[in-house]
Amino acid sequence: MLTNRRFVAVASFLVLLALVPLLARFVGGEAFWIKFATRVMIYAIAAVSLDLILGFGGMVSFGHAAFLGVGAYAVGILSAEGIANGFVQWPVAILASALIAAAIGAISLMTRGVYFIMITLAFSQMLYFLGVSLTAYGGDDGMRLANRSRFPGLIDLSGDVTFFYVVLAILIGALVAGHRLVNSRFGMVIQGCRSNERRMRAIGFPTFRYKLAAFVISGVMCGIAGALLANLTAFVSPSEMHWTRSGEIMVMVIMGGMGSLFGPVLGAAGLLVLEEILSSHTQHWQAILGPILVLLVLFAKRGLFGLIDGKSAEKPAGLTGHG
């Protein structure tokens, strides 16, 4: 549920975001800012997708970057094979991420807790190595795309500003769909599974199929983010699937506020801005980012979005989650 203050915060953030291309014209470095804001939004979509299963479903997937890679490679491979048509590329990206999410989910969800964390991590690493070994498609170095997806008769994505607004529209779509989803009957089931799966089964829910469906939905949303990412940079490489990327997406969710849909958007912006600032001061910025993460987890679990309300969310002590 959105409080009034939260609604105002979300609306003003999105309006501000929509004005980035205009504002950038005054600040200078227009191309940089537009691309940077687009990248923030794409990672925001990925983080929202992870939050659906992590924050709402309690499934600690440490392999979400895999779907980023699947979406990106679907676009990249088709493009390399001469199919630049987005009406083909994007559905293929969606289908591929759905299938792979279904396979990974079906195996990982047979287990729980720490096994689930390790298995999702292992499968994403498997896809990473698969990407590295695809020498025909750039292997370790990745490959350059000739151009962005073509949507003949609909829209021309080659301009950065156009692409920016398309990504913004998809982000808003993802937020709206996510909002409907978590408050729907399906969303209640997913949240019930996070809260107390044993009880869910006792009152009659076959929980596995609902969790799997949530995993697939989340994977598809992240796959779309991957397809967008390939389009943004016109470049695809295994590094998008590396496990540190999965870690980063997870950090975005936590930093912004897990279990709130808009939190991950703030988290994506927060982490990427932080990286940008730190890396402009020192090449060893990760030595600073690491301890920041540790402190964040230990002391500020409610995240950026939680700060907007000022008061702590009503939550009973000691009764949350079970790993």
């Binding site: 408050n183 729907s184 107390n196 009880r199 089964r201 009152i203 009973p316």
Partner: protein, 250 residues
């Protein structure tokens, strides 16, 4: 006589060398309140887990409402009309009392692959949930997070969630556990109001409550049913006095 609603037939469950359930048979007739008592370690909780399907059995059969459910998974048993409350309170602590019950209603109103409509604005879930909450006396507490309810209220909510699935058989696993005298008395009143409307299998330590409420009582010792009968018959049974009531002073 008609078939019992629940028939447990010669059930056996071993944990390594320990026989937790030893050729246990038990029949619950429609509309009765059947209590199971027994000293600690008699296998009461194991029995509940077997009936609800959280624990597989080694031998024997469980029949429920004309179905052989011995090997059916828990959600299927729930769909057939078995509902349980938990001995250790097992709620959705981060959801409101109403959400807790509404989820139980939702579990029995078709599949939940419905992604768009706001479930919290769905009268077909909220109205029955409100009704059940009122039945157990939690009406005014509907919007409180389950984790923030008092212990006695959480026990009431436990029962409300079981009721909301419109069960044919209600399995109550020590509903009085950890309750004070006053709370227990309230709960006995609640259970009396449910008697006859639901078939109930009650597992309970509180002897006063059991002898007040039960139509029939089965006594469990070391995984065996050593006696079944009316409260008066059980009181008079020599085996029971020796095996169980004699050592009541724990």
């Amino acid at each position: 006589m008609a078939e019992p609603l629940l028939a447990v037939e010669s059930l056996v469950k071993r944990f390594g060398g320990l026989v937790a359930t030893d050729h246990l048979s038990l029949a619950v007739e429609p509309a009765e309140l059947h209590a199971v008592i027994g000293p600690n370690g008699a296998g009461k909780t194991t029995l509940i887990a077997e009936i609800i399907g959280e624990l597989g059995v080694d031998e024997g059969r469980i029949r429920f409402d004309g179905h052989d459910i011995t090997h059916r998974p828990t959600p299927v048993r729930s769909a057939l009309g078995l509902a349980r409350s938990f001995q250790v309170t097992s709620l959705f602590p981060d959801m409101s009392a109403l959400d807790n019950v509404a989820l139980a209603v939702q579990a029995h109103s078709g599949h939940s692959f419905r992604f768009w409509r706001d479930a919290r604005a769905d009268a077909s879930l909220r109205d029955p949930a409100h009704d059940v909450l009122a039945q157990v006396g939690l009406g005014p507490r509907a919007d409180v997070l389950a984790g923030n309810l008092a212990h006695g209220e959480q026990r009431q909510l436990e029962i409300a969630m079981a009721l909301a699935t419109k069960p044919k058989l209600l399995l109550l696993d020590e509903p009085m556990a950890g309750m004070g005298t006053e709370e227990s008395a309230q709960l006995v009143t609640l259970l009396k109001s449910l008697k006859r409307r639901f078939t109930i299998l009650l597992i309970e330590h509180d002897m006063d409550a059991v002898f007040q409420l039960a139509d029939r009582i089965t006594v469990l010792v070391y995984g065996r049913a050593i006696a079944t009968g009316t409260p008066d018959a059980i009181r008079a049974n020599a085996d029971v006095r020796q095996a169980y009531l004699g050592e009541e002073e724990e």
